[in-house]
Amino acid sequence: MKQFSLIVIILGFISVDYSQDTTSTWKKTPPFVLSVDFFGGLGSTNMTNEFTSKLIFGGHIDSTLKNNVLDNTKKMNRAGFELNYEVKFYNMQDTFLRTLPDYRYYIGIGSYANTSASFTQDFFKTIFYGNASFGNTPAVFDNTTLFQSNFKKISFGLMNLKTKTSFALSIISGNNHQLFDFNTARLTTGEDANELTFEYDGNFQQSDSIANGFLKFSGAGIALDYSMHIKETVQLSITNLGFALWARNPSSARLNETINYDGFYVSNVFSENSFNVSNSLDSIIPNIESKAFVSFLPAIIEAKKVINTDKELQLNYGLRYRFMSNYFPYLYIGGFYNATEQLKLSSALSYGGYNAFEMNFNAYYSTNTYYIGVGTNNLLGNFSKKGRGRSLLLSAMIKF
C-alpha cells in the first residue's frame, strides 16, 4: 500500500497530463525513480482534423474542406496546439537536508510549446477565402489573438512525503514568443478595390526570429511549480508560474494604426530595377522598434480529485486552465476503475480547452519495476477526420 501511495504521490506531482493516477504493486520504496510525461494535442472549435492536418503537415486545402469548416465557424472561434513533456529524476532514499527528513528532491527537464488563436469568422474568411467576398463591407477582426510560446526548463524540486506537497524552481530558456493581440481591427476594401484600409489597435510582441533554437536563450526567466493536497480529496497544482525576459533582437509595440494601401509604386515601368518588393512592403508595414519585453509564461493551473487506490470504481473529475493561451477552462467528469492490481482504466466527458465536448480515455499498467500510462482526451477525434482535435498522453515511470 505504501508503495502504491508513493507512486500516487509521485505521479500526483506530475502536472503535464490531465489525469495519471494509478496503483502499483511495488513492494518497497525504490531508491531512484525516473519519470517521463508527454502530452501532445490540438483542438479547434471549428477546424476539422482533416483541415488542421493539412494546415500543419502540408497539402492543398480545397473549397469543400474550407466550406465544411466555415459551416462550423461562429462569430468567435478558437484553436490551439500543445506539445509538452517533462523528464524527472527522483532520489527517494536520501533527504535533501538533515533538518528536513520528510523531504525528497528531484531534478527535471521539460519543454512546453503552445500555439493558439482566437479569431472571428471574418478573420477566417479573409485568410482562407480572401477579401473579395466582403465587397465594401469591413471585415472585422476585433479580439483576434494569435499566440505562440516555446520554452525549455531545468527544474530542481522538493517534495514532502507526509504533507504531499511539492515545489520546484525552474530556469527557463525561451525559444520564441509571439503575440498578436488585436483589441480592434478591421479591413475595408474601398470602392472598386481602389484602396485597402486596415485599422487596428493592439499589442505586438516578438522574440528573436533568427536565433531561436534549443537553449539559444532568446529569452530567459524563472518559474515555479507547486502542488498540494487539500484534505486528501483534491490535488491542486500550478505549473510554470513565472516570467521570461526577451532581450535579444525583440520587437514589442502597442500599435494604433491605420494603414492605407493603394498599390505599390513603380518609379519606371520600363526599368527592371525600379521596383523592389522588400522596400515597397517596408513602406506600408509600420516600423516596430527593437524593444525588450517581459512576458508571463502560459502557466497551467489544475484541480483534480485524488484517486483512492482501494476503491474498485469511483468518480473522477477535474478542472484545468492555461493562462494567456486562448484557452477555455477545461472541465472533465467521469469514472475511474481499478480493473486489476496492475491495470487501471478511466474515462470522462469533458468540455473546454481548445474544443467543445470531448471524450477522454486513459489506461494504466504497472509492475514491480515500471508503470506506464497512455490516453487521450479526444477519443473520437483521434479516429475521425471530421473530429476537431487529437491528443495523446503518455506517462511512464521506472524504478531502479
Binding site: Y85, G130, N268, F275, I372
Partner: protein, 524 residues
Amino acid sequence: MRFLLLLIILLLFFSCKRREETTWDINVHSPLIKTSLSINNLLHDSILNENPDSSLMIDYSYSLNAFNTDSAFKIPDTIINAFYNIPFGSPTSLNPGFQFANDPASNQFNYGDARITEMKLTSGKIKFKIISQINEKTIYTYEVLKSDDGNGNLFTKKITVPAGTVSSPGIAQGEFDLDGYTFDMTGTNSNSYNTLETRLKVLIDPDGNSVLVSGADSVLVENGLINLKPAYIKGFIGTSTFDEPNSELEAGLFDNIISGGLDIDQLDVTLSFTNYIGAELRFKLNHLRSLNSRTSNTISLSHNIIGNDNNINRATLSGSTITPYVVNYQMNTSNSNIDLFLENLPTAMEFGFEAEINPLGNISSGNDFLFINKTIDINFDVMMPLSLIANNLTLLDTIELSIDSANNRLKKGDFTLIAENGFPFDAELQLYLLDIDNNVIDSLFNGQIITSGTLNGANRVINSTTTTIMANLNEDKIKLLEQNNRVILTSRYHTLASSHTTIYSNYKLDLKLIGDITYEASIK
C-alpha cells in the same frame, strides 16, 4: 519496455514535421501597382531640355563615324637587307672580342609624297634574321639612332648568333617591339625625311675562342619593319583621297516606331565638322539619305552642303595640345528639307562622300601633323521643340518577363487599369502574348482608348481625363506567359488637335492596376 517507451516518444517528435507545402486558393480584390509616366519615361531624359515656359526641347547628338583612321596614313612594311663579306683575302685568325663590322646606315623609306620628319609608334616590330658562316659565336648590336623610348633611351638590341659554316650557317632570328618609340626621321644632318639612321656592330664573342676566317665567309642580315602603327606623324603627311560612294549607319532614335506618322513643327540641325588634323581638308558630301526599312521610304537631304566642295582649314598644335578647326552647317526648315528627312523616321542613314587631305599640296613647309586617335569628327546636333502632330504613331517594345511556373501563384484574374491622362494625345496600349515560337496568339487588353487630357484654346492640357481599361488573364493566358517569358507591348499615340501640339514638362500619365485575382496562398 523503457526503450520502447523512449522510441514511441522520439517517433512522435520526429513525425511532427511539415511534409510538404500547405496551399489554398484565395480571391483577392486589391490595388496592385501604380506609376506615373512623364515624358522622361517615354524619351530618355538626357536628350530633353526644359524651356522657361516649361515646354520641352529635344537636344540630340548623333555621331557619324565616317572616317577610318587607318586610311589617314598607313606605313607599309619595309625589308632592309645587309650583306657582309669578311675583308680578308687569306685565312686569318680573329681573336675573341674582335669587331669586324661597325656599319652606320641611312634607311630612307618610300611613303609616297609624304615627307615625315618625326613619328611615334603605338605598335610595330623589327623582324630580324642573321645568317652567319663564321665558325664562332658572334654578337650583333643593332641600334636605331635618333630614337627615344620616352625615357631618353635609344633603341638598342644585342643578338647572339651561333657559330656556323658555309655549308651549315648559324642562324638567329626573332623580332623586337617598337611600341612607344619616337623616331627622328630627318637623317644624319637633320635635313632629310622618311629616314631611319641605324648602326650595326658585329664582333666575335669575347668569351669564345679565336676563329679562322677567310673571304669565303660571309654574314647576311635581314631586317624588316612590320605592322608599324603610328600614334602621330609630323612633317608633310602627303596628299590622300578618300572615296566612300555609299555607306550605311543605323539611326537608333526611332527603332521602336513601327507605324504611324510624325509631323514636326520646327527643327534646327547643326552638321559640324571638327578637323583635328594639321592639314587642309576638302570634303564633299555627295548624298545623305533617310531610310525607313518598314515603309521602304527614302528621303534625300537637300541643302547647300550636298554635292559641293567644302574646304576645312587645318588644326593647330601647341606642345601636345591640338586646337581643332570647326565648321558648322545649319539646317532648318527654311534652307533644307531636314524636317521631312526626320519625319521619315529613319531606321538607317545612307551617305556618300569624298575627301582629300592637303588638296593644295605642301603649303605648310612640312609642318603637318596627324594624331591617329583624333582625326575628323562629324556630328549631327538636333534641336527640336517637342511640338508635333502624332498620327497613330505606334511604338513596339519586347518585354522580358521572368515568370517561373514552379513558383507562380497567380491562377487567374481580371485586371482594371485606371489611366489618368494628362498628355494632349490619345493612347492605346496592347500587350500581346506569344507562343514558344514567338507567334502572337493572344492579347490582354480590350482595345480601349486612353482619352487625351482636356485642351484649352492654346492646345494646352488643363485637365486630366480618366479612362478605365479591363483585361482578363485566364488560366490559358497564364500558361502562355509561363511557357514563353516574353510579351510584346505596343502603344499608339494620336494628337487630336489639327495644329502642332507642344509637350510640357508637367504632363504625365498616372496608371493604377487593380486586380480581382485568384491566388494560391501557401505556408512552407
